[in-house]
């Protein structure tokens, strides 16, 4: 067995994903060239738009917050061997939970509301994930298809509720009432101001801190608890799980509900933090970005945070881009997102044989030189 060269971790989780990412960016650059613009200029604008000024930072991290939640959501289900394509719908329904809590329990003081809102989001999101999870676990229905279907069902349901139930009387726009001012999540710039630090105003709010906490909790849960162990066992080998006394169905449901809850925390950021009301399609595809984020981050919370930051940067920088270069819209960001999923997800093994070959050759040469 000794001459089977196993790639060291730094290549496996570092070099390979970076190579794939690089390929995605090279293809994007070629596309920019094809449109007749200068890729270097595009990168400059992107970076300036994302980090170039105080306000930009806030926006970048605000997007990052959403992507951390949806990325974690995808990752937890993935560790259980499940493709949860339904983060979009789960977050949408989670938003309903937050909104209902904030509208109907508006007598609660803020600290209590913080907990109640979080729980409401989690319960609604988890409940929406529960049905596909149950059908997968107990009736063998393919979760990819059912979660896709549930995105559309959620979308129809929410349009119905917003148009017919939640819309305030007299209003023509299908959106809910504003939630009370004292129940909104504080903006980071306001919090900083309270400590006498001057920050440019941005949508970045308390939920960013919560996203970081959630990342740490997910990491502990997956790798340092017996439930996380059980979930990973089910994901890697369901037969072995059954043999070990771990009921795969039970953990499929648990993992999906946690996944749904994590996705729905995105609504904390959007509804309680920024929009302060429930809007149609407020999820805006962030759920799908979560797939790219998780795949790029190798389903590890630390990797997910880095990938979420990258996409936060692309989203914020992309807005700047369409402003500066009219021929390139911020759809460029969607293209990059698709390419990243393609190269780091679907074609993740493309470079592996070659890299293994190069690494093996290098190792053998080094061993020979050491021997000599």
């Amino acid at each position: 067995m000794s001459n089977v060269v196993q790639l060291p971790r730094w290549i496996d989780v570092g070099v390979l994903p970076l190579l794939n990412l690089l390929l995605a960016l090279v293809v994007s650059a070629l596309l920019v060239l094809a449109i007749g613009e200068n890729p270097v200029e595009v990168v400059e604008i992107l970076l300036y738009g994302a980090f170039g000024y105080d306000e930009a930072w806030g926006y970048t991290l605000y997007y990052t917050t959403n992507f951390v939640f949806t990325g974690l959501s995808f990752a937890v289900a993935f560790h259980c061997g499940l493709f949860n394509i339904g983060a979009e719908g789960q977050a949408y329904v989670g938003g309903l939970g937050v909104t209902l809590a904030a509208l109907y329990l508006d007598f609660l003081p803020f600290p209590l509301m913080l907990v109640v809102g979080m729980m409401a989001a989690a319960i609604f999101g988890a409940a929406w994930a529960y049905i596909p999870a149950y059908l997968q676990a107990r009736r063998g229905s393919h979760i990819v298809i059912t979660t896709i279907m549930f995105n559309f069902i959620a979308s129809s349901l929410m349009v119905y509720l917003l148009v017919n139930v939640l819309r305030p009387q007299g209003s023509m726009t299908p959106e809910s009432e504003q939630i009370a001012e004292h129940l909104r999540l504080p903006f980071i710039h306001d919090m900083a101001a309270a400590f006498g630090i001057d920050m440019a105003s941005s949508p970045l709010n308390l939920s960013f801190v919560y996203a970081i906490a959630a990342s740490i909790l997910v990491w502990m849960f997956i790798w340092h608890t017996r439930w996380g162990y059980a979930i990973r066992t089910v994901g890697a080998n369901a037969v072995a799980a059954t043999y070990g006394g771990i009921d795969p169905g039970r953990y499929i449901i648990i993992a999906m509900m946690i996944s749904g809850a994590l996705a729905s925390f995105m609504a904390l950021n959007e509804v309680m933090g920024v929009q302060h009301r429930l809007l149609i399609d407020f999820t805006a595809g962030y759920g799908f970005v979560g797939i790219a984020v998780a795949l790029m981050g190798r389903n590890h919370p630390f990797g997910i945070f880095l990938a979420a930051l990258l996409f936060g940067m692309l989203y914020q920088g992309g807005a700047e881009l369409s402003f500066e270069i009219p021929t390139i819209s911020n759809d460029m960001v969607v293209v990059i997102q698709g390419l990243v999923i393609l190269f780091t997800g679907a074609m993740e093994h493309m470079f592996r044989p070659r890299v293994t070959k190069i690494y093996t050759a290098w190792r053998l040469r080094r061993d020979r030189m050491e021997a000599a």
């Binding site: 080998n237 037969v239 072995a240 043999y243 070990g244 006394g245 009921d247």
Partner: protein, 527 residues
């Protein structure tokens, strides 16, 4: 006799197949080492060797499934460059794989014509195929309905569809890879009759197996493989099972393990009229009743696929009982009703399952992760809500020391251990919990010789420590050397019990074929 089919070249018959210097590596594993092989035309040629000796790889190369790294293949004296199955088929080679290569949703006819449809539109070829198929079926008495859906057929019939496929393609040389592993004795007999007919018709048959009985009964010549190398060629009539087994393992096999008398105590496991159904609702275990006492090893013998696996899995809490009951130390632990594998572990049942990779471990996990499967709830491995990886590492290192697992690195991926070391780790995990009852299936499948002896000794040590052991194995040698009492299963029924003293291969063989035990013993008495 052979001359009739000879090539006519100055009397000397060309071998049907000649392999010269075939060499193949899979990464670090040297699966075939410079193999030379000659198979005479119109004979049945056996290739024996232990699991992993490289037999299947060699035949897969001959059939174009893999490419050899070196060496040449000659068919009927002509050099053949076999790059894929289509080249092998063109050279007149057919293969019946161990795992059938059939499309279960297709009819027999559709399966047979796949790849040789005889035209872009099916209709043209199908009628011709039907006629040809009926001729082949008559000629070799295969007895199959061409319109039956393959998924509905029994395993034995599916295998005949595979043979039919090869014959339909005009195969002159037929390779069968472990054909009897999944067959009942009756089906196996029928298969050998078919092979004899093939031989009469001048076809050449290559039979890969690790069962010496079959080699002795059915073949003309035999080649022995060991650890990737071809070690001997013999005329079957001029060799003996003893010589072949010695050639297979490389030294005299310790057929009987040194062990003392059993000293059975109280009944630990009592099984009453247990019935178990598989996922398709087919009853695989039918009214099994038996006991296992403390301080004895009870062996369950039988041809693979006769319900032993399902019985073991039910007792391990993985499958539910459909009827009957199971008592452990007089307490009801009938699997299914709230009793799963976790509950049974709590009550002192340890289980080493038959299939290591599919069931006993997650090969992508590290050794220490693999070492807690089933016991992850143990307080010793947990600090309140978090897993205590430090304690787990220590426990794993201890298991590795105690069971001589190499390399002794708890952080190495389970997949990177050899089969024997993986199995020792699984045994360590289960045995070191000091269980009341040890369920163990195929403990030495895919395990190297050195580890086999070690594993057998540990199982006997469990018995001597006063534990109850239930052993399931398809290797008769293993059953006979370990078990104190032997139960024989056939078609889901426990058809009888034989004590270790009166057990021999013939009696057990007859019982495994479904012969009543008293009759079997009587037949043996006459012999």
């Amino acid at each position: 006799m052979h001359q009739m089919h000879g090539t006519g070249e100055t009397g000397a018959v060309q071998p049907a197949i000649e392999l010269r210097g075939i060499d193949k590596r899979f990464g670090a594993v040297h699966a075939n080492k410079e193999i030379d092989l000659k198979v005479d035309k119109g004979t049945i040629h056996g290739i024996v060797g232990e699991n992993g000796a490289g037999k299947s790889t060699l035949m897969s190369i001959l059939y174009g499934f893999y490419q050899a790294d070196g060496g040449t293949i000659h068919v009927d004296g002509k050099l053949c460059d076999i790059k894929g199955s289509e080249d092998a088929i063109a050279a007149g080679i057919g293969m019946v794989h161990q795992h059938f290569m059939l499309v279960e949703t297709f009819s027999v006819l559709e399966n047979v014509i796949l790849g040789v449809e005889g035209g872009a539109v099916l209709r043209d070829g199908v009628d011709k195929a039907r006629v040809e198929l009926e001729r082949l079926e008559r000629e070799y008495s295969l007895d199959i309905d061409p319109d039956a859906i393959v998924g509905d057929l029994s395993v034995g019939l599916q295998q005949r569809v595979e043979i039919l496929k090869a014959l339909y393609r005009g195969a002159e040389i037929l390779i069968l890879d472990e054909p009897t592993g999944v067959l009942t004795p009756q089906e196996a007999d029928h298969l050998f009759r078919i092979l004899a007919t093939l031989k009469e018709q001048g076809k050449t048959v290559v039979l890969i197996t690790h069962k010496l009985r079959e080699i002795m009964a059915a073949t003309d010549n035999v080649s022995v493989m060991r650890q990737g190398a071809m070690v001997a060629d013999r005329k079957t009539a001029q060799t003996s099972p003893e010589e072949l087994s010695e050639l297979m393992v490389g030294r005299r096999v310790l057929l009987r393990l040194e062990k003392g008398e059993a000293n059975p105590g109280a009944t630990v496991l009592q099984v009453n009229d247990l019935c178990v159904d598989n996922a398709q609702g087919v009853r695989k275990v039918k009214n099994a009743s038996f006991t296992v006492r403390a301080g004895e090893i009870v062996g369950i013998a039988g041809v693979s696929g006769n319900g032993q696996s399902e019985l073991l899995e039910a007792l391990g809490g993985i499958r539910s009982a459909s009827e009957g009951s199971v008592l452990l130390n007089d307490q009801d632990v009938t699997p299914g009703k709230g009793v799963d594998a976790a509950e049974l572990r709590k009550r002192g049942v340890a289980h080493v399952p038959e299939d290591r990779h599919r069931m006993a471990m997650v090969t992508g996990f590290t050794a220490k992760e693999a070492a807690i499967l089933g016991y992850e709830d143990d307080p010793a491995y947990n600090n309140s809500i978090l897993l205590d990886w430090h304690a787990i590492s220590k426990a794993t290192a201890n298991m590795m020391l105690e069971f001589d697992v190499r390399p002794d690195d708890p952080d190495l991926k389970a997949a990177n251990f050899s089969g024997g070391n993986q199995q020792k780790l699984v045994l360590a995990r289960e045995i070191m919990r000091d269980p009341e009852l040890l369920l163990v299936g195929q403990p030495t499948r895919g395990v190297d010789i050195g580890a086999i002896e070690f594993i057998h000794k540990r199982i006997v040590a469990m018995r001597d420590a006063g534990k109850a052991v239930l052993l399931v194995s398809v290797e008769l040698d293993e059953i006979m050397s370990l078990a104190d009492r032997i139960l024989v299963m056939c078609d889901g029924v426990i058809i009888g019990e034989v004590s270790a003293a009166e057990a021999n291969e013939r009696v057990l063989g007859l019982m495994m074929a479904g012969v009543d035990p008293n009759e079997a013993k009587a037949v043996e008495g006459q012999a």
